[in-house]
């Protein structure tokens, strides 16, 4: 009994130490989660900062809203009332920068900023408009308009602005018309009102975004007494991110809840020892801590994707303690078992470490970190299994139940016949991979998204109805400061307008459309006439017209004042309603500033690129975000394949050095190679094409395969000891069964990343086991 207590105590102590280390690690090691760090080193500077700015920018904070009756097809009776009520209620929550629901109103409050800045904002100021002829034309026009029906507003503007330049400026800012009913935005069939809201919290802060979205639902419910039950639909980058995270979390929870009892059950069933569980996870925990620390020391931080994929790959380390436990014989000390398996453990461990280590040479930081993480982790797991576990395991270990001492060994021998079958299968797999109709590697990133299809469709519909710019193409104009960026953008304006008129794109938007550079503004302001000249022109224009004397004195005063004005900067506009419109189109970082040119329905990117080139403007770039993401994925895949090839060569050499016989090396290398090959072909057949996550799964299959093959090989070398063979076969089978069940479970996940890895490793594990048994099977009566 005391032995059990002592063991228990040691285990608890070990876990306490581990827990403490793990907590310290997580607290002290900087963990990065922004995706820009995944970009390869050479492009990291500009593109990385750009993507980081996107992430922080207002575009990611915009939520598109559709509000309608619960029962579809029945349009709202009073769309304006619903829309205004919802907008007001949302504004009252204080969670939003702004909420808009429809067309601009023609009243002084809305027009005020355009009125105030009318000589500094675009459209370009034409000094001729102050000539007597033009003024007269403007005054005659006023006399006509005053006979119309918006006299009140007109009179507020016209005395200081007889040419009604305020309206010309305002018109430029009108959002491309979405459909309206009763003056508020509605969707294509007019049954739902649409709104746009920009949250105060950043788009990547998913926790806050979730809170905001919950409030939005609450507010919609609050409208029920007045309008009946309403259904609220939302979309936008943060909405999709939250939905993705929810799916991922739910799936992960479900998987953990099922897999943990499953694995625990299997292990207890086979090992007959409850202490088996903590012992099993100790090397894994220690591996995680050491791997994280080592990666952090070398790279300064650890990326969240490294942790995610790294932990998956470290799953290989779960096999090592299983081998140890399988080898403990009745009455023997665990130390003895450890020594017995040490050579196999060392060979398997070092081979796998050398297979992964070359990834550290990649120029993609994500891959490099993964290589170091996995190598360090596995090495640690081996060390812990060899030296720490035996101390913790009970001295009086019970031998495992025998299946019948000869059976595993006999099965093993019998499987030798399967060699030729295996090779044929390998050949078939190879031909399937080489002779394909469709590309082997996946081209469509969208398939990797865990977002449900309904949400994707809704997003597309809302973008279309609200005329929100495409998320795919965006042009950036870089510069040292806002002034440079505005000047460069201005140079592009004529070309862009030409392309728009020609149909190359439906529309474009950028700050330079509204705000001229300081240079241009100064030029315009200088051209404003001085007081005397203007007085003369005005007097000439007023000849014979029935305006009262002095009606346009405010105009004279206004121009005189504004001649002295400083050019308007973006800074000046901050806090005004105009800023809300402009700020999404300017990104700042420590390296400089980008102006964004938002595009809608760009039909011919090539033409746009040509125009930019011919214009000779510097610092302009057309980004195809979809293509960039695809290229990034392709890059990772190619790098992985290249460095893994190096790793495979290293691993192979490692085997030669340690096993010292060609037959031995082949017995290990061939099943691993065939397992990966056949798994690859099988998965490609099932899913149609392979993604980078399938590739990660294949890496794991290789790792597991090496493990199985090496242990079986060592076992079959000791032909004189059937117990050895039995133990090895049992251990390997147990490893395979647990891995298989966990990953088969993962294959059912709704998140493509997880299901792809799960499918690959499940198939690969089964194949690795079989093929390892086949190729390490000893010939009858042969000693090697």
């Amino acid at each position: 009994m005391t032995a059990v207590i002592r063991t228990g105590f040691r285990i608890i102590l070990a876990f306490a130490v581990l827990g403490g280390l793990a907590a310290a690690t997580i607290m002290l090691v900087p963990i990065r989660s922004d995706m820009s760090v995944l970009l390869p080193e050479d492009r990291n500077g500009e593109l990385g900062a750009l993507f980081a700015s996107f992430r922080d920018g207002p575009a990611n904070r915009t939520i598109m809203i559709s509000l309608g009756r619960e029962t579809p097809a029945a349009p709202l009776d009073a769309p304006r009332a619903v829309s205004v009520a919802y907008r007001t209620a949302l504004e009252e929550t204080g969670l939003f920068e702004f909420v808009t629901n429809g067309a601009m109103r023609l009243d002084m409050a809305t027009l005020a900023p355009f009125y105030d800045h009318r000589y500094r904002l675009n459209p370009a100021l034409d000094p001729e408009s102050f000539s007597a002829e033009r003024l007269r034309a403007a005054l005659l026009r006023l006399l006509r308009e005053l006979r119309g029906f918006s006299g009140g507003l007109l009179q507020e503007i016209m005395q200081a602005d007889p040419t009604l330049r305020t309206l010309d400026v305002a018109r430029l800012w009108q959002l491309p018309s979405a459909r309206t009913r009763q003056g508020v935005w509605v969707d294509a069939d007019g049954t739902h009102v649409l709104l746009l809201a920009q949250t105060k919290s950043p788009g990547f802060n998913l926790a806050d975004q979730e809170v905001t979205m919950a409030r939005m639902r609450q507010v919609a419910e609050g409208l029920t007494p007045a309008f009946g039950p309403l259904s609220l639909q939302m979309s936008g980058p943060s909405v999709i991110a939250v939905a993705s995270r929810e799916v991922a979390e739910n799936e992960s929870l479900r998987l953990v809840l099922v897999s943990v009892p499953l694995v625990a059950g299997l292990l207890i069933l086979f090992l007959r020892r409850f202490s088996a569980l903590p012992i099993l996870f100790l090397p894994l925990g220690g591996a995680f801590v050491v791997a994280t620390v080592v990666t952090a020391v070398i790279y300064g931080d650890v990326h969240v994707t490294t942790l995610g994929f790294g932990v998956t790959l470290l799953g290989i380390a779960v096999d090592y303690p299983l081998h140890l436990m399988a080898q403990v014989r009745a009455g023997q000390r665990p130390e003895t078992a450890a020594r017995r398996i040490w050579s196999a453990l060392l060979i398997a461990g070092s081979t796998t470490v050398f297979a992964f280590l070359p990834l550290a040479g990649s120029s993609f930081p994500g891959l490099a970190q993964l290589g170091v993480f996995t190598a360090a982790g596995l090495a640690t797991a081996v060390a812990i299994t060899r030296w720490v576990l035996p101390v913790l395991m009970s001295a009086s270990g019970q031998a495992d139940a025998d299946w019948g001492s000869e059976a595993p060994a006999n099965i093993h021998r019998a499987l030798r016949a399967g060699r030729s079958v295996a090779l044929v299968l390998g050949a078939i797999a190879l031909s399937l991979l080489l002779i394909r109709q469709t590309p082997l590697w996946q081209q469509d990133l969208a398939a990797l998204s865990p977002v449900p299809e309904t949400l994707k469709l809704r997003d597309r519909a809302l973008r279309r109805d609200l005329n929100v710019p495409d998320p795919r193409y965006v042009m950036t104009v870089a510069g040292r400061d806002v002034e440079e960026v505005l000047r460069r953008s201005e140079s592009l304006l004529p070309g862009l307008q030409r392309l728009k008129a020609g149909g190359t794109m439906a529309d474009f938007d950028m700050v330079a459309r509204y705000l001229p550079s300081k240079e241009r503004q100064e030029q315009a302001l200088r051209k404003l006439p001085d007081e005397d000249r203007l007085q003369k022109s005005l007097d000439d224009a007023l000849q014979g017209l029935s305006f009262k004397k002095g009606s346009f004195d405010p105009f004279l005063r206004s121009v005189a004042e504004r001649r002295q004005e400083e050019p308007l900067t973006l800074q000046d506009l901050s806090g005004s309603p105009l800023a809300v419109r402009l700020s999404p189109m300017v990104l700042e970082s420590k390296n400089g500033i980008w102006a964004l040119v938002l595009l809608r329905h760009l039909r011919n990117p090539g033409e746009l690129r040509n125009m930019v080139e011919k214009s000779g403007v510097e610092g302009v770039r057309l980004l195809d975000l979809k293509q960039s993401a695809q290229d990034l994925m392709d890059g990772y895949r190619e790098e992985t394949l290249r460095w893994v090839a190096v790793g495979a060569a290293l691993a192979f050499s490692m085997l030669i050095v340690t096993l010292r016989s060609i037959r031995g090396v082949l017995a290990v290398a061939v099943p691993v190679f065939l397992a990966v090959l056949i798994t690859m072909a099988a998965v490609a057949q099932i899913t149609g094409s392979l993604s980078i996550f399938h590739l990660v799964g294949l890496l794991m299959v290789a790792g597991l395969g090496i493990d199985y093959a090496v242990f079986l090989r060592r076992a079959s070398e000791q032909l004189g000891d059937p117990a050895e063979t039995n133990a090895a076969v049992r251990a390997v089978t147990l490893c395979a069964v647990t891995s298989f069940s966990v990953f088969a479970l993962l294959a059912t996940a709704g998140v493509p990343i997880l299901s792809q890895i799960g499918l690959t490793v499940a198939i690969g594990t089964a194949l690795s086991l079989l093929l390892s048994l086949v190729f390490t099977s000893p010939e009858r009566g042969r000693t090697l």
Binding site: A103, R105, D107, L146, G148, G151, G152, G183
Partner: protein
Amino acid sequence: MGLLAVSAAMFLSPSITVGYASDLDLESVLRPIVANSAEEVTFKESRFLGVVTKPLESSGTLRFDPPDRLIKKVEKPFRETAIADKDRLTMLDADGVETMSISLWASEELRLIFDSLRAVLRGDAAALRTLFDVSVSGSETEWKIDLLPKAAQDEGYIAEIVVRGVPGRIVSFDIRETNGDRALIRLLGSVKRS
């Protein structure tokens, strides 16, 4: 021409022979108007604005297609057409080419004016009561409807709209603005249709 119109009106609205038995209420004033309102009538408009020395005059024709399409064709001193159809205002130039089209919801001023004109023309007392505080006054021979915009949602430009008429016919719309400006539209009689 005017005589013809009056006799036509008398012929078409039987209630004229009856006169107003009880005191005036909105419905009884509006009812006989409805029958005549789908005609094209000529108008003369005078604008009294603080910023000009003499009133701005214009004239043309006004046509109403019930329930909510009002077409004002200005012929003098320039040619222009304004079409208020449901909640949209469209302007056409002398050649009939569209120069502007805005939603009436964009301007409180415009919406009030057109909604009131159309409500009166189609006899929609309920709509008038929703938008305005209504008071009716007058005698057997003439009536007056005072429309005061209901508590202004924003700083309204319209102070008051006064509709005057004789039994069965609108004589004038008088739109008074808060800044003292005034628009007086006098309806003169139906255009003879060919």
